[in-house]
Amino acid sequence: MAEENPTKPLPVAKYLAIPEDGDPYLEGHKCSQCGAIFLGARETCSSCGTSGTCEPTPLSNRGELYVYSIVHRSFPGIEVPYVSAIVDLEGGGTVKGNLINVDPDPEKIQMGMPVEVIYQIAPRKDAEGNEYLTYYFQPRSA
């Protein structure tokens, strides 16, 4: 089955939505009962214990850096250093990812600094050679 068209990349994580038309986005599931936001679909809200109340909701591409670590030692083959970041998104939802386009230096990274989510083809493929779309954080001007 020869494929003429390049295939659509797969999402790096279940909570990265890639619509047929339109821009990719991070998708949360929000509990209508208590407002807790999760990454990925779920039957029961683990905050309030109610079932059937978690509905998909798009998360913002804007947020602020909550905390980070600069990773200098990782598994073999993984490029270091990189910045592992926890980001609180505007309107709710907390996501972990690499913070890029910043020096991996504590002097250059401020907790609380404004960041944005950007989407790129991941530099890794799976065993079948499929491409993946991933997300990163980068600094933004407030």
């Binding site: 797969l10 790096v12 994580a13 807790a36 999760f38 990454l39 683990s46 905050s47 909550y66 905390v67 980070y68 670590s69 600069i70 990773v71 200098h72 030692r73 990782s74 598994f75 993984i78 490029e79 270091v80 990189y82 592992s84 970041a85 926890i86 609180d88 907390t94 996501v95 972990k96 990812g97 690499n98 504590p106 907790m111 609380g112 991941a122 530099p123 890794r124 493929k125 799976d126 993946y132 991933t134 997300y135």
Partner: protein
């Protein structure tokens, strides 16, 4: 309900034993604890065994194959780094319930020179280093940075934890290392995940620790002299918090466990003479000063600066050397820190004895998360 006492307890020297095996290491600690209790395996009514890396492999039964297959019930526990404390608490629960008078608890792990722990999982492509880090040094670095964000805690303050615990281990022959590490050495060591350098990460080692627990009835029968009372045994899991799906929360479950433990013991943090807490990374120790109520909110940095948690200070923490220097054999850790407390309450800690110690607290965290806290008290 019966009170529960530690009658016998011991640990093997933490280190690397590639020629041994998990059951053999566990058996060695079990024999030491039985000897310390003046009892034999025939006296044991049940075995509670804790091990993580071979959780599916009937470790408790294999220990009995080494020390005596008496046919007693065996419960194998696995609860991440709270595994040992969980096994200990299973034994405590059974005596408390009046089912048994005498049980054996063993915590054991063979890690060898395991590399970085954590991460992995799922299909697709590996996400380590792509979607941040799931490795333990970074996870606990991020937890420490939350403290830095709130209170301005510095890299140097985190590093001082490691200096202190390495200093403490100089007097503990059962510690993996007995090596002084001055501040410049700790801060200048290879950076693993900022702000944790290599010397601020716990050591992956093999180890085992075991305890004989008895009911009040049995304690009176054999004599209370060597008994240490378990005044509180508490286990918690992590309640839902806003960020815990991407940032494991080791604070809330510790705070809840501490509150419950102090209530159960009828004691407060001011009554403690020493604490062994879960310093899996230097950053973690700082968090737990406040989580356990050893100081006020935001005061942990000052606490380490002033030497309040050093041996001879206001509230000595990890006088054994802690996980940072004594080593962290996951499933054994929770029983080993109870051994340390018990040894001081018995006045048998030699050079590193905390003088006049009457009450101590042992704390562990398993990421994912579980928190186990035990408060122990001298009987007389």
């Amino acid at each position: 309900m019966s009170d529960v006492y530690v009658l016998g307890i011991d640990m093997i020297k933490f280190g690397r034993y590639p020629e041994s095996s998990v059951p053999k290491l566990g058996a060695e600690a079990a024999r030491l604890a039985l000897e310390d209790a003046g009892m034999s395996i025939q006296d044991m009514e049940a075995l509670y065994s804790g091990n993580l890396m071979q959780a599916a492999a009937m470790v408790g039964q294999r220990i009995l194959q080494e020390i005596g297959q008496t046919g007693i019930p065996v419960t194998n526990s696995s609860n991440a780094c709270a595994t040992g404390a969980t096994a200990f608490r299973e034994g405590w629960t059974a005596i408390k319930a009046g089912i048994y008078d005498t049980v054996l608890v063993v915590g054991v792990e063979q890690l060898g020179k395991a590399g970085l722990l954590g991460g992995g999982g799922g299909g697709g492509i590996p996400t380590e280093g792509l979607l941040g880090s799931g490795l333990m040094p970074a996870v606990f670095a991020e937890a420490g940075m939350e403290h830095a964000r709130k209170y301005g805690t510095t890299f140097e303050q985190f590093a001082k934890v490691s200096v202190k615990n390495h200093q403490h281990s100089m007097k503990n022959a059962k510690s993996m290392y007995q090596k002084e590490t001055p501040l410049e050495m700790v801060m200048g060591a290879e950076m693993i995940a900022y702000p944790n350098t290599k010397l601020m990460c716990s050591v992956n080692v093999d180890g085992a620790a075991a305890a004989v627990l008895v009911s009040e009835k049995k304690a009176r029968e054999v004599g209370m002299d060597r008994c240490v009372k378990v005044s509180a045994s508490v286990l918690t899991s992590d309640p839902w918090t806003e960020r815990d799906l991407v940032m494991p929360d080791v604070n809330t479950c510790t705070r809840r466990a501490a509150k419950a433990a102090y209530e159960m013991a009828g004691l407060g943090p001011d009554d403690l003479d020493l604490v062994e807490l879960h310093d899996c990374f230097a950053t973690a120790e700082i968090l737990h000063y406040e989580n356990l109520g050893l100081c006020g909110e935001g005061e942990a940095g000052k606490c380490i600066d002033n030497g309040e948690t050093a041996h001879g200070g206001r509230i000595p923490v990890n006088v054994s050397g802690g996980l940072l220097s004594k080593g962290h054999p996951l499933g054994a850790t929770g029983v080993a820190n109870i051994y340390e407390i018990t040894t001081h309450l018995r006045g048998a800690a030699g050079d590193r004895q905390v003088e006049g110690a009457r009450v101590g607290l042992a704390h562990v965290i398993g990421l994912g998360s579980a928190c186990g806290i035990h408060i122990l008290e001298k009987v007389n």
